[in-house]
């Protein structure tokens, strides 16, 4: 009896879907498509509904209603698939499965988990570009959303790696071309844009970028210049917001910081200033009493705690006591540590250090962008 009732219900729903589908076909509108998707989701599940809403978005790409619906359905689909992919990886890990898993986490808005999956994949399959591409995309999105220089630097680093591993990866080249052009690194953008022009589909925006890059000319920017350009383009200057993971990028900020750090050393109450390369490696002398080894250990301890408390990455730390103050700064790929007398004005020191890369990395004294 129950199964007959269920069958009748199912048939009714199917007829209803057919009816709405016909209405959508004859006189489409976002509202009708939305109704159709809701019915499809209830009967065939979120995957089928997502297909339907994506077809709807082809007709009404600017419909906010459909975009919201697509986002919600994509999340539901991603959640369903998550468990299945995790199981598949446990049984037989492949870079493609890792890529799918990271992508699902990204769709669910869990960027940190997506990045962790990318890293695990890169460690297991260092010759496969998939993980680098997914992390590059994630960092690109994050850079575009927040303007944080560190994400921009890491995005190009991962995407370049993807292109080294597979020079035909058009998606990686497209992202690289766009990012480099955005910050004015046309020397770097040019080869990617030319490659896309030769091998990709015709694209009006690509042609505009290519024209701009060819008109700008100039030599290929060094990695340090790229870091400086991202910092200059970032509203937060070059203050690092990235993770503490070891980066292969060159030590970009250190040479630019040097003049300012010289000033900091001269400031009242400053005992010692050291700059170190940002790294997740343990200090060379973990038991040492040097400022460098103590600062690196504190960076590591504090960073770990902040991540565990879901506060994100460490930018700045200050420890004060009757014997003095220790100020730690995370700047691009550098860590700056300042040891002071108890009464030194930490605010002046902090402002001086934080202003360092903003002045040196592409902005003149009046704040104008240098080219």
């Amino acid at each position: 009896m129950i199964s007959t009732f269920g069958l009748v219900k199912k048939l009714q729903r199917r007829r209803e879907i057919q009816k709405i589908s016909q209405e959508v076909a004859s006189d489409p509108s976002p509202a009708k498509i939305e109704t159709l998707c809701e019915r499809v989701a209830a009967t065939k599940g979120p995957r089928a509904a997502l297909d339907a809403v994506e077809r709807g978005l082809e007709q009404f790409p600017w419909s906010e209603k459909l975009q919201v619906l697509a986002f919600g359905l994509a999340k539901a689909v991603a959640k369903d698939e998550l468990e299945e992919i995790t199981r598949a990886i446990a049984e037989s890990p492949t870079p493609e499965a890792y890529g799918r898993l990271a992508e699902r986490f990204r769709q669910l808005g869990d960027e940190d988990e997506a990045i962790r999956v990318c890293r695990e994949c890169a460690a297991r399959f260092p010759q496969n570009e998939n993980a680098f591409l997914v992390e590059g995309r994630l960092r690109t999105d994050r850079y575009r959303n927040t303007g944080l220089a560190r994400d921009g630097v890491l995005a190009v680093e991962k995407l370049e790696r993807a292109v080294v591993l597979n020079e035909d990866n058009l998606r990686a080249r497209q992202l690289l071309g766009g990012l480099y052009a955005d910050i004015g690194a046309f020397g770097r953008a040019l080869p990617h844009l030319r490659f896309l022009k030769m091998h990709g589909a015709p694209d009006e925006r690509l042609q505009t970028l290519l024209d701009d890059a060819e008109a700008a000319g100039g030599s290929v920017e060094s990695s340090a210049e790229i870091a400086a350009l991202f910092a200059a383009a970032s509203p937060a200057g070059s203050i690092a917001d990235g993770d503490t993971a070891r980066s292969d990028a060159p030590h970009a900020t250190e040479p630019n910081l040097e003049p300012v750090l010289r000033d900091v050393r001269e400031m009242n109450g400053v005992r010692e200033v050291v700059t170190t390369r940002r790294t997740d490696m343990a200090p060379e002398d973990p038991d040492g009493a040097s400022l460098e080894s103590v600062a690196r250990a504190i960076f590591a301890i504090a960073s770990e705690s902040l991540v565990e408390m879901e506060m994100g990455n460490l930018r700045h730390a200050q420890i004060s006591g009757p014997q003095g103050q220790l100020l730690l700064f995370s700047l691009g790929s550098s860590e700056v540590s300042v040891l002071t007398e108890p009464r030194a004005t930490s605010q002046d020191i902090r402002e001086r250090v934080l202003s360092a890369s903003r002045i040196e990395n592409g902005r003149g004294a009046n704040g104008e962008r240098r080219r």
Binding site: A289, M311, A317, G321
Partner: protein
């Protein structure tokens, strides 16, 4: 009493949470938003302060009065009280100077309150 001081502090600076913990990392009082896991924050705070305290002692700094951490999504401020720590978590956009004044004031009030009740 302590809870009221923390509530007032949170209101004044729009803190996401504040708590007083013993040196062993046991929460004595806390006022925090629902997303906060007080026990976890207390345990991590104790671990962080103990480890960082041991590190700065190598530089000849025998004690730590205050410890600030600025992270991507907020600030954490740790103030040493007579026999406990005050921990405050604020938004990144909060006015740092005002936050410190209010945190100092709350720390003094807690110390006074503790002295009276002990």
């Amino acid at each position: 009493m302590m809870k009221r001081i923390l509530e007032e502090l949170n209101d004044k600076i729009g803190a996401r949470g504040s708590l007083v913990i013993t040196r062993d990392g046991i929460p004595i009082a806390s006022t925090a938003r629902a997303e906060f896991d007080t026990e976890r924050v207390a345990a991590l705070t104790q671990k962080t302060l103990a480890a960082c305290g041991a590190m700065v002692r190598r530089l000849g700094h025998e004690s730590v009065d205050r410890f600030y951490l600025t992270a991507d999504s907020g600030r954490m401020i740790f103030v040493e009280l007579e026999s406990a720590y005050l921990v405050v978590i604020t938004r990144l956009s909060a006015d740092a100077e005002q936050v410190m004044l209010e945190v100092d004031s709350a720390a003094r009030q807690i110390e006074r309150a503790t002295r009276i009740t002990v």
